[in-house]
């Protein structure tokens, strides 16, 4: 696909959303203006923006399918094809993101310009995601969750209860401010359960430890709580 096509796809989606869900139309329109107003960045920034747009468009299509549902039976049929983590993402978090103003949305622009959006822990998160899938858990990873909701990854295990995870290395562990910001962000988005997990990359087998703690807490951690955990 030519990269230029993504603008047309975004605009078509804005038009369609304006009939089905004006909240989505408004947010997509903001994204369109945001891309237009930000001075074009480096090749890395271009990759990020294209992937962000592609991810947002694909999520918006799923969202419009859900919003256009006409009966409970049909809703049930849709939900059977979603993992519990996807259901949480689309029906709770994305829904909240579309219906509220996002105070961090325009900070992304600054991050983009400063090249601060590259994830240094991308390989670690990919490895964790693979392990979780191998153990029959399910995950959702989204730029919006990462940049606006302080959530690196959303995980569900056997009990099918989604848990939002923020990972941080021990070097940042003692940053109380970082923890406070994280908790406030989760409360703002009405995220029910969150795990702030700090790890020590020099420890043997730390990926497995992260996966164990994540899967266990996804099943056992009570609702309405935020947990800080150090490995």
């Amino acid at each position: 696909m030519q990269a230029k096509e993504i603008k047309d796809r975004l605009k078509l989606l804005i038009k369609e959303a304006s009939i089905i869900d004006p909240h989505l139309a408004r947010r997509l329109d903001e994204i369109n203006r945001w891309v237009k107003d930000v001075k074009p960045g480096s090749l890395t920034a271009k990759k990020f923006v294209l992937l962000f747009l592609e991810q947002t468009i694909r999520d918006a299509q799923v969202w419009l399918d859900i919003k256009a549902l006409t009966s409970l039976e049909e809703q049930q049929a849709y939900y059977e094809h979603m993992t519990p983590t996807e259901k949480y993402w689309y029906c709770e978090l994305l829904s909240n993101w579309l219906s509220q103003d996002d105070p961090k949305f325009y900070i992304w622009r600054q991050k983009l310009m400063a090249g601060e959006f590259t994830q240094s822990d991308a390989d670690l998160i990919a490895s964790i995601a693979n392990h979780i899938k191998q153990r029959s858990g399910t995950i959702v990873k989204r730029y919006i969750a990462d940049l606006s909701m302080a959530t690196d990854i959303i995980v569900s295990n056997r009990e099918q209860k989604a848990l939002c995870i923020q990972l941080t290395s021990v070097a940042d562990e003692f940053s109380q401010q970082k923890y406070n910001d994280w908790e406030n962000t989760l409360r703002f988005w009405v995220i029910d359960r969150g795990l702030f997990l700090s790890y020590n990359p020099s420890t043997n087998d730390f990926v497995n430890q992260i996966v164990n703690v994540t899967l266990y807490n996804s099943d056992k951690f009570p609702a309405g709580k935020y947990l800080k955990f150090s490995l």
Partner: protein
């Protein structure tokens, strides 16, 4: 790629499954390849797509986008419409006006626009006694506004004929 409202629930479900699988595939590719995944989806990541994003905006604008631009402008008619439809977003209003403009006769268009303006008061009122609110609104003013709006949007649309 864009959703189309379909009447058959089976077709809708199939489309939904396709969309959710597309979202999963992208997630997996981003996890596996990081930002390099962009090259799997786009042939010309380093092309000028971003530089030209806002270019030719006027020429490329659809009628729908031109209506949004008009409604967001300082034009006195646009200001009145925004005041009247304050609970609705500009894309939402534009989509509804675009429907009105698909009607063949100007009189029908004016009537549809006026209905839209009146309905917004009834729906937005949340007041069981909204009929009293309606009484307070000068229906002639709304008809005038509808006529003025249709006139303005006709000028906007002439560019596309």
């Amino acid at each position: 790629m864009v959703n189309k409202l379909q009447n058959d629930p089976r077709q809708r479900l199939e489309k939904f499954i396709q969309h959710i699988e597309e979202a999963r595939k992208l997630q997996d590719d981003i996890l596996q390849y990081g930002l390099a995944a962009a090259e799997l989806y786009f042939e010309d990541v380093d092309g000028d797509w971003w530089e030209t994003w806002g270019e030719n905006e006027e020429e490329d604008k659809s009628f729908f986008e031109s209506v949004i631009a008009f409604l967001g402008s300082d034009d006195s008619v646009a200001l009145k419409v925004r005041k009247q439809l304050k609970d609705k977003s500009l894309p939402e209003i534009a989509a509804q006006f675009e429907k009105c403009f698909n009607l063949p006769e100007e009189e029908e268009q004016i009537f549809a626009v006026k209905t839209l303006l009146v309905d917004s008061v009834m729906v937005g009122g949340n007041n069981p006694d909204y009929s009293e609110d309606i009484d307070e609104i000068d229906e002639i003013d709304l008809l005038d506004l509808a006529e003025e709006l249709v006139e303005k949007l006709t000028i906007v649309r002439e560019k596309y004929d």
